[in-house]
Symmetry: D3
Subunit: 284 residues, 6 copies
């Protein structure tokens, strides 16, 4: 059952707004550090999208960042000393330390995967640099739009590691040009917005951040006006089907819709369609 | 063994022709209802492609539609009262009704999947509107060509439901631009032929339906002239491999070809190739 | 542990060079036969890439071919008489012969898959014709570049068989346009370099072979300058993730990186990055 | 929705009865041929269990055989001449014949799998010999009971082939002793009822067929008295979970029960349980 | 990294103790309600085992229950009114209510799965009745021992539903006798301890609860004396391998042990073994 | 095609014999070291079974060991210094060393998996101790018989590691009693032959090694007298099906048998069966 009381979206490094028509806006708000991902940033992101999942008021989400750029990537200063750090204590048993280190990576992954598992569509708006973990984040979103000044770098090889928070899993399923995906993952080269559009990493490029944000919000508003049962089901089933055979995807979909077809929204939508009116759908 | 007697292709809402060179032409023929998919339409489609599977005379298929458009989508009038209807009897136990409702969805899915499982390549020719179930249908085809006036809408969210007859499973594997796929699935926005070409939903756009049909038939004829063992194997293995890891796809392919390499067609093809002649291959 | 002595790359039909900065260059060198794939060619290719896997000096590979074209495809003369031949002895039991024939196909597949499983990125450079088995080979590479005169044909249906050395498994995951993939697999039509670029089969088209080779080598050199732990991990994880669900890919990646994060390269890379210097990374 | 009219169970080689309390009894009735499986037998079995699936009156099934034994196995006389026969026409292309032969095996498999996919529990009662295809059949049942004179032989290797209608897939999942399973599959040795009980192939051994049948019918009656929603769901979910990871089985189960929990049966059962009464549940 | 401060095991309906040698004892402690599973019980169980996962002091766990029996099953009174209840408000949209209801089932499942995912072996001690959810719980444990008075009932069909918290996924993988598993799942019949031993549901039957508990604690102590790296790895890899093919299990195991082989424990164990001494291993 | 010349079975630590009727006998022959598995032992085992795969003369294999016991397990002295050793050089980068260490584990696994992938049934005969790697080996065999003095220990936890050469993958699929499997894997306790028989780890227990060997050879001879096409297919399909869903196992089996049904053996076997004679089948 949906929570009786509205969850809190009071975060230290995120600004979260919710419009009357069901569009949440999440802004990564650590501009003084170029939105570098400290553990606080990703833990708050995970918590925020986790709450969206059960918050019937939220129907669609726009994700952007404050300041000069989307993100400079992982907070290397913190990483160098923390549990994901590159300077482990040699006195500690590698296998023991590894046991907990693996759990820490999984926790980080889960936080970013919350964007995917929240079931509400998420539109990323990228301006300026989008580096390293930024690619993991936008690959977990549904739709990507960019400002003309945006550029993208799968930066991880340049800090001596393979991307491990989702880029290597999701980017090849987001962009259908494997030669390009491998090129940018091995070389860490800079991809301008125009190239990102060409290969399909982003759907649209707008002149600047303000216009990109406006475009994303317009799309989000149009999605939020649909039946939330239909929209949430569509996202959930797209994600399930990506990871299963067509046959398994169809079987799961049949079962899901057996339940979802009980929604009043279908009757309302068909009626509205026949009457050339616009239906209004209650929150999930 | 192939059926001894030729199967019947006498349908009420389909017109089926078979050329001497092995190209079947299926025309959805319910123009007065804008080719809306009543259960009769999809049941006939399923039966038709099921028969193609065992009919050695059929080597390649062209699928098009009569009248003003490809299809207006699901027959909502029928759906509203039938087993997929949005107005269930509240006196009936939801779980019991659901048991049979799920079977009905699976039956609908199977009918459309017959396009894929018939093992003969299918080329869809789209003109005018291609809405809702129309996307499920063309996503199950192998190659798509369009007339300039064609447009495409993943319409289901607008009737309060998630697409459940194959679009969410196949479209993301047909078009390698996930940002675009999700955009059109969430917004139900209209995609003109030109955009469909750009993202790869269709391979070619021709000025009008007649030219599109002619282009499809030319391609079909060229496919029908190849060894049917080779062509059927290629389609079957592409579909198997889509749903399995590369390693599993390779192992299944090795086993399949161990059998298929016994075909006389290889010797005939190699001989013809060396003699710069054209080989003729018997039916499957 | 890496082999103590450097492996031999002395092959009869391959020329292999290794630059000081870790870029291996493999040239298929059977120009008088248009680089047709006899069993010697693919067995040597398999052996060569198998050795690359454990050779810490090799960080990135460029694969090209000598003479007029990349390859004319399978050596049909040999195939017609050999274990993959189209003219089996009818006195031999089909099931018995099949048992060994299947093993022979698997062996051929394994040789080409060595390009993928060697864990070092491989850049293919295509000039002139790239037919049949040539497509299997370049689909197993990571990045493809072409000279303007290059053209590509999935030729197998024309010799009466389905491609069975990797094309049907990998090409649809390399190019995100299924309508196009099926078109070229069913029709065996000729795809010029420009079209290959448009659909993403190749990443770049250069005026001629020399420039294409130079471009590939420049990219390879830039990859070879990175941490080999990072690069090898990236390739390995991209391949694993392609064949698993996102969730399974993430879990495997977390485990892999728990180990890889122990590398000194991360500390060195972060330090170099902070100091705006260039780090140097020892061989794997 | 359940069929409006009761399906026909009028078969030539099966006798089908349906008790008032929802127990169907299927008797294989070709005693003069020792219940050898001609294609008519398995086609009728497939049709019969296919109809059970949508027949709300059927809640549990008992499967037994008339005459001296359960079955002598495949009807070899028919097989020797038919599509599964061992004497193919050498003039026919092996690859072409194989294409249809494979479809024929799949059709045979589907008929026997209908026992599993009908969703109603099936209890097999074995007396006398149960050979070859008999093992395929009883492995697809849920529960097996035997008369003391029963014996079991995985007979296929003795006719020069591997079992292909389900034994090799299901027997190792039915009996948790792999050393035993492989022993009986490679040697085709005779397994008496007592040994079958010990390894768990059968749940109970009764003195004779009459008592075994009575025991099976008593168990079937007790199952038929339960909520059919609960029973059908349990069988469906056991089968799904056998073929998936625990995690996937749990997720599918959660979705299934989200629907099934809407059943009135739960309230009725809980109420009856609190009142120490016996609940009565309507048909599915 | 392991938590710096010891986690709290202060629960309302569980009693948790931790011995000096690393054996945790969890007692379900709601005897006045026959240990019926209210949501508080399973939420506390989930929290408790979740904390065990990161608590290096815990090496092995014994799970038992206070009072007359292990558990009477689900708390039906609570269930009848709560989110899993059988009496939903008809005014609420079935699809909307279902969306949250599914999340609630998944949350319940996750709590019980924490027994499995905590990576420390868990030994269940059953006395008296073990009904319904009790089977879900003990199936998620590693080893089961019973007192002579114990009996087991897969009770769910008797309350009109299919078991959905793990029984249908895990019981068939715990007990290798599918005929028996399906019998008890469809009939909800009572299984005495002796029969449970015979089919392998429990490993041992002891005269009474005190002796069963003592036996479990002795086994637990022997496990806790081993290298925790070895033990935790063994449980983790058994669970991974259960859900994957042998090949995938081997590949994951190779990667896992590449890391784990760095442990000091191997050297210590080998040394101790050669010196016929007993090694002592630090906590994880 | 089968190799033209018979492969060599001249090994240093294995004795290999081949009877006229197709039964190979492999004896692990390092009695002075209690058959401890040095890398030479497992490399020779892998090579030997790899050759069996393509050697048509070999139809069934018996595997036993010379001297006092089956095996004392891994050769710890070698392991302590070699690539799997517990004392790595701390100066070496953990990630780099790990890359090659993982390949070494995979190579070891492949050698033992050759017992499974050789497609000919393998019967293990165990006498005396069977420790550690010995369990990995016999779990990869098809059938296990034991002398009365045999005992079994999953020894790995006692040397500070998880078993990684197959025990954790195969033992739970060999023995259908998960409570027992986990007990012996966590405690490394000694399992006498009688207990091994009870849980199904071995199929038979004979008074001593000579009788166990004779029994194994009698079973092997009976298997070797069957059609090798049938036997090899049965083993191959049992292994495939273990690792796939029932549906996938059936589909692969149908394809496999479409080829195998072309064997002359079926006609010969059916004819012999009708004539109550014994058929003779040529080698594979």
């Amino acid at each position: 059952m949906a929570a009786d009381t509205a969850p809190s979206y009071d975060f230290g490094l995120l600004r979260v707004g919710l419009s009357a028509d069901g569009v949440a806006h999440v802004e990564i708000n650590r501009p003084e550090a170029l939105n570098a991902f400290s553990s606080q940033v990703w833990q708050e992101l995970g918590a925020c999208f986790g709450r969206f999942k059960s918050d019937g008021r939220v129907r669609c989400v726009v994700l952007s960042a404050a300041g000069r750029m989307f993100t400079a990537g992982l907070d290397l200063k913190e990483a160098a000393t923390g549990p994901l750090g590159a300077a482990p204590d040699p006195a500690v048993d590698v296998a023991r330390r590894g046991y907990y280190h693996r759990l820490a990576i999984l926790e980080f992954q889960d936080a970013i995967s919350a964007i995917e598992t929240c079931d509400k569509p998420v539109i990323a708006v990228v301006h300026g640099a989008c580096l390293g973990i930024g690619i993991d984040v936008i690959s977990a979103c549904d739709i990507r739009v960019a400002a003309e000044d945006a550029f993208f770098v799968v930066k991880e090889v340049d800090i001596g590691m393979a991307a491990d928070i989702g880029t290597l899993q999701r980017l090849p399923k987001v962009v259908g040009n494997d030669s390009w995906v491998r090129d940018v993952c091995y070389t860490a080269r800079r991809v301008p917005a125009k190239e990102a559009l060409l290969v399909g990493l982003v759907s649209r490029v707008l002149p600047d951040k303000a216009e990109a944000l406006a475009a994303a919000q317009a799309t989000a508003a149009s999605i939020a006006a649909k039946s939330p049962v239909a929209v949430v089901s569509t996202k959930h089933l797209l994600n399930y089907s990506r990871d299963h055979s067509v046959r398994e995807g169809l079987e799961y979909t049949a079962l899901w819709n057996t339940l979802a077809h009980n929604s009043h929204d279908m009757a309302a939508a068909v009626m509205a369609s026949l009457q050339k009116k616009r239906a209004h759908f209650p929150n999930l």
